[in-house]
């Protein structure tokens, strides 16, 4: 009897996890929901932000492609500009413990203070659950979700896949493009690109 309860529970667990495991984010489809702990200690639920645009930014502070965006001040500028316009911005840290880019909550808070980063929140994802849910390949991979909860952009931050700070000023920023076009009621011209950068440092 005990065994059959365990069995039933296992099946139930598999069934309820199954959509999670297969429902990787796709442009044009509903953004998979998740709940996460932010570095400020708050619990964040993606679906609580329906009605607003949401940007997801995959982060790893040791990655030189992320360094390009932060040391040039570009990422902070984008965060400030778009959160100022009511966009919810989540920085997501999917590095596993012991891997490059893994930080504790307080280390992330120190980093954000030092870099003057201004996301709505930095979400700690050491198990890689959110990363895998969105099939995030790189940092800084970017995802834009519209107020209806649909993914409207997934890919690179811009069209210059380099670590060179000099490439920031002339780059076409795909996040800006998606947000501007969508907010203007237009079709997002470039909804998906190769998300260049460092591979996300998931657990082995």
């Amino acid at each position: 009897m005990k065994r059959s309860i365990a069995y039933t529970m296992t099946i139930a667990l598999i069934l309820c996890l199954a959509p999670l495991l297969i429902a990787a984010a796709r442009v044009g489809e509903a953004a998979p929901d998740f709940t996460a702990t932010a570095s400020n200690g708050k619990t964040v639920k993606l679906s609580a932000n329906l009605g607003k645009y949401v940007v997801l930014e995959w982060h790893n502070n040791g990655c030189p492609y992320v360094g390009k965006q932060y040391n040039s001040g570009n990422m902070q500028r984008l965060q400030k500009q778009w959160t100022g316009r009511g966009v919810v911005w989540f920085t997501i840290l999917s590095s596993a413990p012991g891997k490059q880019g893994y930080v504790t909550a307080s280390e992330e808070n120190d980093y954000m203070a030092k870099m003057h980063a201004m996301p709505t929140a930095a979400l700690l994802d050491p198990t890689g659950e959110i990363g895998h849910l969105y099939d995030a390949k790189t940092s800084p991979q970017m995802v834009v979700i519209n107020p209806q909860g649909v993914v409207i952009y997934d890919g690179a931050i811009d069209d210059k896949p380099t670590t060179d700070l000099n490439d920031v000023p002339g780059a076409i920023n795909y996040v800006n493009l998606a947000l501007e076009q969508s907010m203007a009621g237009k079709k997002v011209e470039i909804p998906a690109t190769r998300p260049y950068g460092c591979s996300v440092k998931y657990a082995d």
Binding site: A24, K137, T193, C198
Partner: protein, 303 residues
């Protein structure tokens, strides 16, 4: 995360001084360090003969486990980039990329080279190059070196070769390196082999007729965002070859006219593939052309 100096003025000045010093010290170096390795510039011949093309190469030697990238880096990373400075009448062509390897994890797959790789660069020379002078070739290389993590590297390399009117003699010291590098370059498929690509909703199906059953085939797409790099490539051996199913990339939102890339078969030989993609539902075109274009240059923007 390495700690950064909090005095930007100071560190910028220091960087400038260091850059200047290293520049001055290595102005003529044919070999330079990069993070976790070295790059060397080598020439196939002892001299340059005006009007006669020749080869130079960049040889990367990397610490164990570190890698650099192919022309299409796959899910992450970027290929090495070279800025050439050559005398008038001497011009570098595109890098000839050896067949890459699949690197990475089950969910993130990159295309590149571990341990060591030699990138051959053909060089064109004009007939009216003045004899008895020498030609100095400078290369500024930007390269991303990765293992678990990635480190960008930069190197300034230089090579000076005499210009002589007589036939250029091969450099015996580099002959082995060039011979090995040539061997790792993808070839044109033999006459008589037939390939075709069919388009299904979620995949490209590459059919090869190579005269014998094939039990190993890996395809490397030259252009990004066409196939799902991390997806398993499903191989079905046939009597005369194989059928290889390549899952489409999530980033592929428009149909593509051609599929280009490198195909590595059982004997570890690599072949260039450049095929029209048959429309969905079209009869399988097994007499598909085996087109052999002159240049395999990546499409799209160049940075």
């Amino acid at each position: 995360m390495r700690k950064r100096d909090s005095r930007p003025g100071f560190s910028a000045a220091l960087a400038l001084v260091l850059a200047f010093l290293s520049c001055a010290a290595k102005a003529d170096a044919s070999e330079a360090p990069i993070p976790h390795g070295t790059i060397e510039i080598v020439a196939q011949n002892e001299s340059i003969e005006p009007g006669r093309d020749f080869n130079i190469a960049l040889h990367f030697q990397l610490d164990k486990g570190w890698h650099i990238y192919w022309a299409n880096p796959g899910d992450s990373g970027e290929p090495p980039r070279v800025e050439w400075k050559m005398p008038k009448g001497v011009t570098a062509e595109e890098i000839e990329w050896p067949a890459p390897h699949r690197l990475g994890t089950p969910t993130i797959v990159d295309y590149g080279y571990e341990d060591a790789v030699t990138l051959i660069v053909p060089v064109r020379t004009e007939k009216n190059l003045a004899a008895q002078q020498s030609a100095r070739i400078d290369a500024q290389v930007k390269v991303l070196i990765c293992r678990e993590m990635c480190i960008p590297g930069k190197a300034q390399l230089s090579l000076t070769l005499p210009i002589k009117s007589q036939t250029a003699a091969p450099n015996s010291k580099t002959a082995g390196l060039f011979a090995a590098a040539r061997k790792s370059l993808p070839q044109h498929a033999p006459q008589g082999w037939k390939f075709s690509v069919d388009n299904t909703k979620s995949s490209f199906v590459l059919t090869g007729n190579v005269g014998r059953q094939t039990t190993r085939a890996i395809f490397f797409p030259l252009n990004e965002s066409q196939i799902d790099n991390a997806a398993a490539q499903d191989l079905a051996p046939t009597d005369a070859g194989f059928r290889l199913t390549l899952r489409k990339s999530e980033q592929l939102l428009k149909p593509i006219a051609r599929l280009k890339g490198v195909l590595v078969l059982s004997d570890d030989r690599a072949y260039w593939i450049d095929l029209p993609v048959n429309k969905p539902g079209a009869a399988q075109n097994n007499s598909g052309m085996n087109v052999e274009p002159q240049h395999f240059v990546k499409e799209g923007k160049k940075t």
